[in-house]
């Protein structure tokens, strides 16, 4: 593997997930060397476990965090605001695979929705038209089904219930994708064996992830210096205010300094914001690139909610591709429903171990046991929609809790916006209606899980005072510092974010490569 000297000013990418991993792949394809610093270990397909808690303990980001605000997570899972991955490949390791694009109006949230009280809506400084070529490339890279001639996945049991219910209540826009797991062999990877464990890493390799595609190919170029177990603790800058190095702790806690020509931060929205806040200095007293005081603000986590319905016949929802079922009918702008923004409905399944923990946190007793007893006859769906950015929903540094390196942990503050509550209630109602239409005996409304879609916190904005980075993810204040993950999202849209994070990283890679070749960085 390539070894870049610590004192050689390098292109340094922090994080190896959808954003950072894509960037590393795209840059190395263009002949540009880079260092990738990944806080977690290098887990591979053969290491993944077909077991919910073993997999969780193997790959989840379990460093301490704290929570505040009125969201239920702060009560039920106060130290686990987010369910994301700490390993090479980042959260693409456990992602589901759904790849809808953001819609044109969602890039213009403020213009489309108008001002919403209590929300800090903005239009993105880029448009769908500008993103389309990158969406095409991202769908090719990820192998989205239903796109560019690729086959649809077959209907699994959970989808049969979901799609029949959808049809019966008048929905039309349902399908088994787009979904980035192979229905047929593609790109050197096999077809799905429908094992039902893609939240645990997918041992077969049928599912696209940064770990199975971008990382090995970037390593093959001989231009990538990948350093797992390397947890970045500070970005430093020179007298002119440009980033000049990244300091990281290895797994034994020894510090290393990597000189940097360009720094790209892709640590997922909580850690990206935390790292900038931790990198405060006399010149940047509120945190690096935080003159606008926007770093950490506008944290979004998508609406989310699940409905699990019981039937008098077997469903066996755990068999097959977990989220290969989407309904797009509610993903539209239609304020007559009582809220702005839209949502998707997507199939979901948990095993008994996770279902017991998450279906109704804290519950026990005969009613709870009845939910669990119905496991084999249960169908499930996830509701995922656009939540409102709010200035006070934010990542800050804890004043009293520190991590294993003695650094202040991130506090995640979140209050639901009334628009979020209205959309969730409406979504629960439509889900119940759908399942009733195919004969449900009963259903349970499950509150949001610890957040898997963590967005905002370093948002793109036209004007420097409204956000942290510009239309290329370049921070307004530090010319060679880039935001390369979902943190840069101006608003969250309704769709699962991974496709858009990959497309944004591809676009940023083109921009970065151009700037590097022109000698501007």
């Amino acid at each position: 593997m390539k070894q870049i000297a610590l004192d050689e000013p390098a292109v340094v990418i922090i994080g190896s997930g959808a954003g950072g991993g894509t960037l590393a792949y795209e840059l190395t394809q263009q002949g540009i060397e880079c260092v990738v610093l990944e806080a977690g270990p290098y887990l591979k397909n053969e290491d993944y476990e077909n077991d919910e808690w073993k997999a969780f303990n193997q790959m989840a980001w379990l460093d301490p965090r704290t929570t505040s605000g009125s969201w239920r997570i702060a009560k039920d899972f106060p130290s686990l605001p987010a369910w994301i991955v700490k390993a090479v490949g980042g959260t693409t390791t456990h992602w589901s695979g759904a790849t809808p694009r953001f819609k044109e109006h969602e890039f213009k949230a403020l213009s489309t929705y108008g001002p919403v009280e209590g929300a800090s809506l903005l239009d993105w400084p880029i448009t769908l038209a500008e993103m389309e070529p990158y969406y095409e490339r991202a769908e090719m890279a990820m192998g989205s089904t239903h796109r560019h001639g690729r086959a649809a996945l077959p209907a699994n049991n959970n989808y049969k219930v979901f799609a029949n219910g959808a049809e019966r209540i008048g929905y039309k826009r349902y399908a088994t994708g787009p979904y980035a797991t192979n229905a047929e062999p593609y790109d050197g990877r096999p077809a799905s064996i429908q094992d039902g464990f893609n939240f645990q890493g997918d041992k077969s390799g049928a599912k696209w992830s940064i770990m199975v595609r971008e990382i090995p190919r970037a390593l093959e170029t001989g231009l990538l210096d990948l350093r797992p177990d390397s947890h970045v603790v500070r970005i430093t800058h020179d007298a002119s205010g440009k980033a000049d190095a990244v300091i990281y702790a290895d797994k034994d806690g020894n510090l290393h300094r990597q000189a940097a020509r360009v720094v790209c931060v892709a640590g997922n929205s909580i850690e990206t914001a935390r790292l900038l806040l931790l990198s405060e200095s006399t010149r940047f007293p509120k945190g690096l690139a935080n003159g606008s005081d926007q770093v950490g603000r506008n944290y979004m986590r998508h609406l989310t909610g699940s409905v699990y319905a019981r039937f008098d016949k077997p469903v066996r929802m755990y068999r097959g591709e977990t989220m290969a079922g989407l309904i797009a009918d509610e993903s539209r702008f239609d304020p007559s429903r009582g809220f702005v923004g839209g949502f998707y409905m997507e199939t979901i399944s948990l095993g008994p171990a996770f279902l017991a923990a998450f279906v109704e946190p804290g519950a026990w007793g005969p009613d709870f046991a009845e939910i669990m007893s119905s496991y084999a006859n249960t169908a499930g769906m996830w509701i995922v929609g656009e939540d409102m950015p709010q200035s006070d929903n934010r990542i800050t540094l804890s004043s009293n809790v520190r991590d294993q390196w003695d650094l202040p942990v991130a506090n995640v503050h979140f209050d639901d916006h009334p628009n979020d509550v209205a959309m969730r209630e409406y979504g629960y109602g439509k889900a119940a209606e759908l399942y009733d239409a195919v004969g449900a005996l009963g259903h349970h409304r499950t509150p949001p899980y610890p957040s898997t879609h963590n967005l905002g916190t370093c948002r793109m904005s036209e004007r420097a005072e409204d956000g942290v980075c510009d239309r290329n993810g370049r921070t307004h204040e530090v010319a060679n510092l880039f935001i390369s993950d979902g943190s840069q999202m101006t608003t969250g849209a309704a769709a699962n974010p991974t496709l858009t994070i990959v497309a944004l990283a591809m676009r940023q890679a083109d921009y970065l490569a151009g700037e590097l070749k022109r000698g501007n960085l």
Partner: protein, 171 residues
């Protein structure tokens, strides 16, 4: 990391303490030894919390052992659990019928002991392969070739739906 929930502070089992103070803590099972009956009592508690008629005692006992292991991690927690268990023994909790036992657990459900107990018992009990089997969950599947040839689409009580996207245009 444990997925424990936050808990209100307070006495480990103030509800029970008030009713059985006269019998005291002389025999408090501080070691939470196997022979002390703690395991059996906790297994009964777990069955009242998570009642599944067809599931035999073994998984309930294993979940009780997981709770005892959690309790014994720290001396403060160990003594609190021992006191709470003694209270339940003094009350003849195991002799209560299902309805009375349920009522008793509800009355103590805000205590720190109960919250910790519930969290650990739930995680252990529903992570037990014998429980999975009873619920109709098949566990790891990759080594068996997934479900592609083993019924991922065997639901036959509804028609086969369309899998392609709708071709009637955007809304």
């Amino acid at each position: 990391m444990e997925m424990t929930r936050s808990a209100p502070s307070g006495s480990a089992s103030s509800v029970a303490v008030e009713t059985v103070a006269d019998r005291g803590y002389k025999g408090i099972p501080i070691g939470l030894e196997r022979g002390s009956g703690s395991r059996k009592l906790l297994a009964r508690m777990i069955r009242v919390m998570f009642p599944h008629k067809g599931i035999p005692d073994a998984p309930y006992i294993r979940a009780a052992e997981a709770v005892l292991a959690l309790a014994c991690e720290k001396p403060g927690r160990q003594v609190a659990f021992a006191a709470a268990i003694q209270d339940l023994m003094n009350l003849d909790f195991e002799a209560m019928d299902d309805a009375a036992a349920l009522d008793h657990l509800r009355a103590m459900s805000a205590t720190d002991f109960f919250t910790q107990f519930q969290g650990k018992a739930l995680l252990a009990f529903y992570d037990d392969p014998e429980v999975w089997e009873h619920l109709g969950y098949e566990g790891p599947s990759f080594d068996k070739g997934g479900y592609v040839n083993r019924g991922f689409n065997d639901l036959d009580w509804l028609p086969d739906p369309r899998i392609e996207e709708y071709d009637g245009g955007e809304q």
